[in-house]
């Protein structure tokens, strides 16, 4: 009896409509899916850090909604034909929050900091090619590189390449990560790690039209249903990320809208090509044919994603479609038979232990069982994965057969996808080539594209690389997840980006 009542109670609870009380405030609250690490993007690899810091610290060049370059603190820029000299014209009349003037010297201080290897900053790698930073006049900065690097403009637009106040850099030293001072529309107010981060309006922002909210509070909320509950009970007005499986219920609850943009993160199951069975191209193709990517998107992302048709995502610069992925179990079985594996074999697939990761693993296990491959799936806790995959990995001794991972090129450029994931220099643990794939044509094309700043020449080289990789199929391509977020209706100017960061500087209520 008691149990029936309980059942009825639960049913009523979840089926019931979710009414809401409208919030009126010029304040903005945002729930993020991860905890903040450092308010110094120069020394962070985390999208949550980049996102929150972007309100305080601006870059020379930013990205718009579609990852196209837009001016921020630079008004124009150009690269030399040999891809070794890049010139930036700076915005005039801008001041940092502490009153310091923004000028070429300030930019040089930041670029020099990034390029200084002895500081051990996390993003030093982006500026390793930089030879010297010159300032011919107060509002011009010239980057001279040691070697040609065609992707430099996009590198300067990377969300970590922000401009701190040179005075703050001097005053706080490494502690600037707790006291960010920039030129942005918001000033840093307070940060209680693990709990909240508060920014307040910068009254003297250079663009007098903005900002339109007085205060922005970020909450790190790792439990995704708690995050959605906070939105639905109007404790926050924006959540990043919205779990795909909850999109429909947020949409239908009225008063909230789901924001969905195509992502640039390509999820793959890399096949360890140092293992005998994956040296055979027929086996790799069979695996790709056995996995139904359309169903994958449906099951894992509740339909909120697309099936890849190239090693890189359509919104990544220099993308070229390689034709659709097919699913054909019969053909897959035939290829397996031809390769001598009619009865399949046993493999271990490593993944991550969050809920999406666990769904991916189970899905793969189910699909591969159709070609008699028996998969042992191993979801790994983040810390364990950090050691087993990225620290103590010796390629020849790798215990995994397949490894799940997703790569997002944070520069928005083909180089920072193809090179880490498919070039020989990217073999884990060095970067992210988890298939131990190595192909001369690909390596050469990637290098060739870096030797020039001419977009047409680069496009040609990347076309060659994409074709070759697609043919060799070192990975099972799975999906490009849509980036999902949700916000209260009436709020505008807050949205997520294809690279996994978010923007809120133009936040406004109707």
């Amino acid at each position: 009896m008691k149990f029936f009542k309980r059942a009825a109670f639960s049913a009523a609870l979840f089926a019931g409509s979710m009414l809401s009380i409208p919030a009126v405030a010029a304040d903005l609250s945002i729930a993020m899916d991860q905890i903040f690490q450092k308010m110094d993007p120069h020394n962070s690899n985390y999208n949550v850090d980049y996102s929150a810091a972007s309100g305080v610290l601006e870059r020379l060049i930013g990205f718009d909604k579609n990852m196209k370059l837009v001016p921020q603190l630079a008004t124009s820029w150009e690269g030399s034909d040999d891809a070794k000299t890049f010139t930036f014209k700076l915005r005039e009349g801008v001041k940092f929050h502490d009153g310091t003037d923004f000028n070429a010297a300030a930019v040089k201080a930041n670029f020099d900091r990034l390029a200084d290897q002895s500081r051990n900053l996390a993003k030093n790698s982006l500026f390793k090619v930089v030879d010297k930073v010159e300032t011919p006049d107060d509002y011009t900065v010239v980057l001279k590189l040691k070697e040609p690097f065609g992707a430099m403009i996009n590198t300067v637009a990377h969300p970590s390449v922000v401009i701190h106040s040179p005075k703050a850099l001097e005053e706080f030293g490494k502690d600037v990560e707790k006291h960010p001072v920039g030129t942005g529309p918001f000033k840093f107010k307070e940060w209680i790690p693990g709990e909240r981060l508060v920014l307040e309006k910068n009254e003297d922002y250079w663009d007098s039209e903005w900002p339109k909210v007085d205060k922005v509070t970020f909450y790190p909320v790792t439990e995704s249903s708690t995050r959605v509950s906070m939105l639905l009970s109007d404790e926050v007005q924006f959540i990043h990320i919205l779990p795909a499986e909850l999109a429909d219920s947020v949409e239908s609850s009225g008063g909230y809208e789901v924001l969905e943009v195509p992502g640039i993160t390509v999820w793959t199951a890399s096949m360890n090509m140092l293992k005998d069975h994956f040296k055979d191209e027929r086996v790799r193709r069979a695996f790709n044919l056995a996995v139904d990517q359309q169903a994958f998107v449906g099951v894992v992302y509740s339909g909120h994603g697309v099936v890849p048709d190239s090693p890189i995502a359509p919104d990544t610069r220099f993308y070229e479609s390689q034709g659709p992925l097919k699913t054909d179990i019969e053909e897959a079985r035939r290829l397996m038979k031809e390769a001598g594996y009619e009865d399949g074999f046993d493999i271990a697939i490593w993944g991550v232990n969050n809920s999406t990761g666990v769904r991916m693993l189970q899905f793969l296990q189910q699909q591969l069982s159709q070609i008699n491959v028996r998969a042992d799936i191993v979801p790994m806790e983040g810390a364990t994965r950090s050691e087993k995959v990225f620290s103590s990995m010796v390629p020849e001794k790798a215990e995994f057969d397949m490894l799940l991972g997703g790569w997002s090129p944070s520069t928005g450029d083909a180089d920072w996808h193809l090179r880490p994931v498919y070039a020989t220099e990217g073999w884990i643990p060095k970067i992210y080539n988890m298939a131990f794939y190595s192909n001369e044509t690909v390596d050469e094309a990637i290098q060739e594209a870096l030797n020039t700043a001419d977009p047409e020449k680069r496009r040609e080289a990347y076309s060659v690389a994409q074709k070759q990789i697609w043919k060799d199929a070192p990975v099972v391509w799975l999906a490009i997840e849509n980036k999902m977020a949700a916000r209260k209706k009436g709020l505008s100017g807050v949205f997520q980006m294809p690279d996994g960061t978010m923007q809120f500087t133009h936040a406004a209520y109707e």
Binding site: L13, S20, L121, A122, I192, V221, A383, K388, F390, P420
Partner: protein
């Protein structure tokens, strides 16, 4: 008595030392590379090495342990690898939310447990007894996080009466303390019931009844007071457990307490924070144990300390 107390206090030192060795070995045995975790999955190996050097993680293990003990002896808990903050600051900040949550959970659950336990004991075998005990057993049979999520869905999202999570105002204590206290209430109710039944069989209760005292007086005044000793002990132990912070409940309700701090620290292999927190829990637990033992002596002087 004082001598006994001091001797017991001194006996804590070897236990704490054992715990420190255990904790240190334990967390360093966990697979995981803090430098890589801080750098993130998309970092290159160079980026990771840069962080490793910046954090001094390349020192030998024994040297790290000696440092840890030295610091501990001088009251310095070290700095967090992840945030660079002093660990003592982080723990001090997380302590109060967990303390208030524990107090609230304990308060309602002891009150409920006492009443339900006594009523059940008095009306032993009645429908009320069965219902009360059924409720109590239900309390320890529910997965914590499920109960928490159900409460949050209903009271915060559906009805909109309470905040979903976090700790900004006193009303935020309600849902997490109910979730956390459900188990304690159940334990208290069952424990009280059996303690009262035990006491009710004692001679002095029979005497009291024989004197013609009213049943209510006999139970609430005589029986309960004597049953209180084991009940207080139990409440003390439960408080010790609660103060450790519940990882699960704090995660569900985004509670800025010791449990959340510990989970984050474990996830990022933030060694200094994990070490300090476990040492604190152990000390807390051992001290409460000691206090409870001493309390026995005060409540019941018949107990002799050898």
């Amino acid at each position: 008595m004082l001598q006994y107390f001091l001797r017991r206090l001194a006996a804590l030192v070897p236990v704490l030392f054992l715990i420190s060795v255990f904790v240190f070995l334990f967390i360093h045995a966990l697979p995981g590379d803090p430098a890589r975790l801080l750098a993130g999955e998309s970092a290159t190996q160079e980026e990771v090495e840069a962080i490793r050097q910046a954090l001094n993680l390349d020192r030998p293990l024994f040297a790290q342990y000696v440092d840890f003990l030295k610091n501990l002896a001088s009251g310095n808990l070290g700095t967090s690898l992840r945030t660079g903050e002093p660990v003592s600051t982080m723990i001090a900040r997380a302590f109060m939310p967990t303390f208030w949550l524990s107090v609230c959970a304990l308060a309602w659950s002891v009150l409920f447990g006492l009443i339900a336990g006594v009523v059940s004991a008095v009306r032993r075998g009645s429908a009320g007894d069965h219902a009360g005990m059924f409720l109590a057993v239900s309390g320890i049979s529910m997965p914590n996080f499920w109960l928490g999520l159900l409460l949050m869905q209903f009271f915060s999202v559906h009805l909109g009466w309470l905040g979903t999570s976090g700790f900004d105002e006193p009303s935020d204590l309600i849902l997490p303390s109910i979730t956390l206290g459900a188990g304690v209430a159940a334990i208290m109710a069952r424990f009280t019931r059996s303690a009262v039944i035990d006491v009710a069989r004692e001679d002095f209760i029979r005497t009291a009844r024989a004197k013609g005292l009213r049943e209510r007086v006999v139970i609430w005044k005589h029986a309960l007071r004597n049953a209180l000793i084991p009940v207080v002990t139990m409440a003390g132990l439960q408080f010790g457990f609660l103060l450790g912070g519940s990882i699960v409940v704090e995660k569900v309700f985004r509670w800025p307490g010791l449990g959340s701090l510990l989970l984050d620290a474990i996830n990022f292999r933030d060694y200094a924070v994990v070490q300090a927190e476990i040492m604190l829990f152990s000390l807390q637990f051992l001290l409460i144990n000691l206090a409870v033992d001493m309390l026995y002596g005060f409540i019941n002087p018949a107990i002799r300390y050898k």
